[in-house]
Symmetry: C2
Subunit: 342 residues, 2 copies
């Protein structure tokens, strides 16, 4: 798992180069203005990449994203009308039958289908008119790391080609942002030691980093067996904030951007008023100070790219915490690399 986390800058460099033509061509063939919305089918880690697409494609490309309810297509056999939809499947393995069923129904209704996957010979790819290979290379650890960030990158490359017909300078900086964050590993490993007793926590992120909250929480569940709940800061205020008591652990993806003030206010509230044990990943000094523990991001990280370096830091935190807890970080109990649900 640690090797795969550390590989991410080179995976990014490779994908930005080798995937550029494929992403350009797919972006040209499937234009946001030709669709009412995109319907994305995904599970687990890939569903969190879909959450990133929900914000990015909407805000940069004007495309509304709906997350599919696969059981409608399988168990209930009552799929809705997909009139106007671009039907997208995101999956590392491309093997889960419920996701394949969503793309197959898209085809049956005559809608264009796109698979974003690490396995171009998978059943999911076979149902897709277009396939974007995330080119992450083989992933051996059960908990996905480099395949998640490579899915984010693929989603972002499509967005850039839709928006400007080229990769933006901001996205081109992603490999170096990933490298910079990985250099903070010893700080992160030190912080993890202070969470050795972690049994449960909330993980907060909003906007582009709603995805990060879900993926960070999932990694903590898989690798450290902590009961980690993801929330947007807004949803957290609508009820769950009641669970915060002194010593409660709270993780936050807190990059600079339009939502920063809201996140900072929440961090200050739970850290100072409610005495929670807080950890923030941020490129703003105020957040690093408001939280009890802080992991710095490169100052120039654009908010829309920030889910990539933030999850890399969160993966390192999770890996080291699992190791400190004496757990098998490579093969978590009860999980297999490919999960087939129907």
């Amino acid at each position: 798992m640690l090797d795969e986390i550390r590989e991410q800058p080179s995976v990014f460099t490779t994908a930005l180069t080798e995937n550029a033509e494929a992403a350009r061509s797919i972006a040209g063939a499937l234009r946001p203005g030709d669709f009412g919305y995109a319907l994305i089918a995904a599970r687990g880690t890939s569903d969190n990449a879909a959450r990133y697409a929900k914000y990015l494609w909407a805000s940069h490309n004007g495309l509304t994203v709906a997350l599919a309810a696969p059981s409608l297509f399988t168990s209930y056999q009552s799929p809705p009308s997909l009139n106007g939809a671009l039907v997208v499947g995101i999956s590392q393995s491309g093997e889960s039958p419920d996701l394949v069923a969503v793309l197959a129904e898209g085809r049956r209704q005559g809608r264009p289908t796109l698979a974003i996957t690490n396995e171009v010979d998978s059943p999911l790819a076979a149902q897709a008119d277009f396939v974007l290979n995330i080119r992450a290379g083989e992933e051996n650890a059960v908990a996905a790391t480099k395949t998640y960030s490579a899915q984010l990158l693929a989603v972002a490359m499509l967005s850039d080609f839709w928006q400007r017909g080229a990769i933006s300078d901001e996205l081109a900086s992603a490999p170096s942002l990933m490298s910079d964050v990985l250099k903070t590993e010893s700080l992160i490993a030190d912080i993890a030691k202070d969470f050795a007793d972690l049994r449960s926590c909330a993980v907060l992120g909003r906007g582009f980093n709603h995805s990060t909250a879900f993926e960070w929480a999932l990694k903590l569940q898989e690798v450290t067996y902590a009961l980690a709940h993801p929330y947007s800061t807004a949803d957290f205020r609508h009820g769950p904030i009641a669970v915060v008591e002194p010593g409660f652990s709270l993780m936050a993806a807190a990059p600079d951007g339009p939502l920063f003030g809201d996140m900072l206010a929440l961090l200050e509230d739970v850290s100072k008023q409610r005495h929670a044990r807080t950890l923030a990943i941020s490129n703003r000094g105020e957040a690093l100070e408001a939280a009890r523990y802080g992991i710095p991001l490169p100052a120039a990280t654009p908010e829309w790219i920030s889910p990539m370096p933030i999850i890399a830091a969160a993966q390192l935190f999770t890996y080291h915490l699992g190791t400190i807890k004496g757990l098998d970080t490579e093969n978590p109990r009860g999980l297999s690399k490919v999960t087939k649900t129907t």
Copy 2:
């Protein structure tokens, strides 16, 4: 809170009668076939009613539902194209500015807007072309109970009028199903005693009851301060199942239906192989036997209606557990009745 839980059968009887004309008229004016999809904006409890609509409107009415990301409309000020969308807001109070912003943008883009709310004079209702009053009456407890089930009923009434131009016999039976479940209160209160030590748990439901998993977990968070996580059974297998260890508490909405076999298999796995402490609400004996604790539903409960009586049972469980824990069930810490997020 207990009074409001017990009021639900009469709220249902009233709404089925007094809302019939309004629901019929709205269903006639806004036809699913005229839209590419429905975009629903909601927060907290109301977002869980939106999850119910996501499954019901898709499976019974062919209408794909996307859940809105309100921050795109507020903080980011970059709303996507709503071309083809029916724009819906669900909110008890109708006051949260982020939800109002979604409906306002719908109007700006010339899309039809619908508010489903308990407050017809609210800012949300003011932005809506059509308003469906859920007629739950004033709700005093901070944790929503009757307003949630009344939102489910409103969503179901629209679905019935779309599908058949009338209220189905199945939906007409909802008040008596609610009454029958409330009669099991003493059994539920007894079970709650055995969960007096509950600090954390997973809550499972899938399909129509994906909504129930989220709402039951939210009630447990708000009223008992337990760290309750909602999952679909499929998502649970894609990672989080790793957290289950002996004594782990797991709640399940397990009605008869196409997904029952999958839920039963999971209940048997976690109860017998992993020695979890399980509680199932079900109208199937196998589920009540597989789980350590069972709350029976009326045998004839149709699966698509089951989220209503199941959440009533879950509300009773939550209320009694909060009382047993010595907590203030009427005014949970850190919450207010109306939460305004931007």
